[in-house]
Amino acid sequence: MTHSELKKTPLASRCESAGGKMVNFHGWLLPVQFDGIIAEHKAVREAAGMFDVSHMGQIFVEGKDAWPFLQYINCNNIKNAPAAGTYSHILTEKGTIIDDAISFCLTPEKFLVVVNAACISEDFAWFQKQAANFNVSVRNESADWGMIAVQGPQALEKVSNLISDVPELPRFHIKEIELFGAKGYVTRTGYTGEDGVEIMLPAGKIGGLWDALLHLGVKPCGLGARDVLRLEAGYLLNGADADQTRTPYEANCGWVVKLAKENFVGKAALAAQKEQGLKQKLTAFVLKSPGVPRAECKVYSGGKEIGVLTSGTYSPLFKGIAVGYIPADVPVGSEVEIEIHGKRAKAEVVKTPFYKNRV
C-alpha cells in the first residue's frame, strides 16, 4: 500500500512538517519517529512528549441501560460515577480478548469508550450486536475526533497553560473542556507509565492544540518511542500480546476480571479456566547479554522450545526486554534462552512492569 492510500489523521501533515518519518500502522499513516526513539523516550521519561493518537476510536454509549450494557460487555467492573473511567477487556463468549479499552462515565446514562484503532470496526459491530437486548444507542464517532496524548513529568504543567484544573483531575478521570471554541474532553490517562493526559477535540480543531503544545516545548514523539514506553510500563499491545486466542488470565491481566459480577460476556469460560488453571501465561524477560529480543523470537528452557515472544525491544533503561507466552509454571527468577538471529541469548524471567514510577 502506498502512503497516499493510507488513512490520515487530522495531524498527518503537521507530523510530517515536524520531521516525522511516516509509516503504515494498521492502515494509518503515522510517524514512527521524529528526532529519534531514544531522544523521544527521554523526553517522555524526563520532561514532556506528545503523540498523535487520533487514530484511536471513540464510541459513545447512551441510554437508560448504558451502564448495564457496558457491565455486560466488559469483564471489569465499570464505574458509573460521573467522570470516572475504567480500564477493561472486551471479550468473546470464549473469554478471549477482542480489545482493551477505557470506558469513561460522562453521566450515568452516557459513556465514552476509547478503543484501539485496529479494533474500531470490530468493536463497533460487536457493541451493536450485543446492544440488541439493551435500551441503548451506540455511536461510532471515531472519525470525528482528533486526539493527542501529552505524557511525562512536565505534561500537566504544560497542558495547564491551555486547560484549567488539570492537576486536580484524578487518574483515570475525564472532564469536558472548551478549547479553541470547541467542546472536547481531557482524560488523565496514557500508555507510557508517566503521568499525563489525553485530549480529544473535534478533528478540525486538533491542529491548533498540536501547534500550541509545540510552542510550549512539548516534544513530538512517534510510535517507536510509544512502543518502548508502553512495554517498559507493562502495558499490553492488543493484536500482539493479546488477541482472540488469549484470555485476560493468560495475558497476565487477571485483575481486570471480576467473576463476582452477576454476568458478562465470557464469564463462564473464564470461571472454567480459573478452575482448571493456566497452561500458558504472558511472561516478561530481561536479556542478560547485549542484543535486542523481538516479537516472534523463540524461547527455550533446558534446550527445549517453551514459547514465543509477542513483543520485544531495546529499552534505554533496561536494555533488551520482552514479553511472550510460556508455560504458566515458570517462576520469576528462572533463566531461559531467547533465540535471536539464530543464536541463543540468556534471559531472566522477571515481574512486570519493568518500569514503575509515577502512575
Partner: protein, 126 residues
Amino acid sequence: MHTEETSRFAKTHEWAHTEGDIATVGISNHAQEEISDIVFVDLPKVGQQVTAGQNCCVIESVKSASEIYAPVSGEIVEVNEALNADPALVNREPHGNGWLFKIKMTAPAEYENLLDLSAYKATIQK
C-alpha cells in the same frame, strides 16, 4: 586517510576501502540515518570466511534489525571492538571510527566492481 569520497559502496549500503589486500567495511551515512539509534552490533567472528553478498553482521536499532552483507569475499581478520561498548559510534562516525570489520580479500577484483560515491548516491536518490 580514507573518507566517504575515497570509499566504494555496495547497493546494500556497505562501504569498503582498502590497504593492500585488507578491506575495511562499514555502513554508509545514508544507512545509519535510515537505521537511526543503533544500540547493538552483532559483529562477525575473527577467522570467519565470508563471500561477497553474504549476511555476516546484524545492526540493531531500537526499532529494527538490519542485516549487513560482506561487500567482498575473504576472511574476517579484525572487528571493531569499540562498538561493543559504544554501538552509536556507527551513527556518529559511519565513515570513521564507526567501521565494522576488516576482510583479507581473496578476490580483490570484487572491490573494483563496487560503486563509487556518485554511483552509490544515484541508487539512493529516489
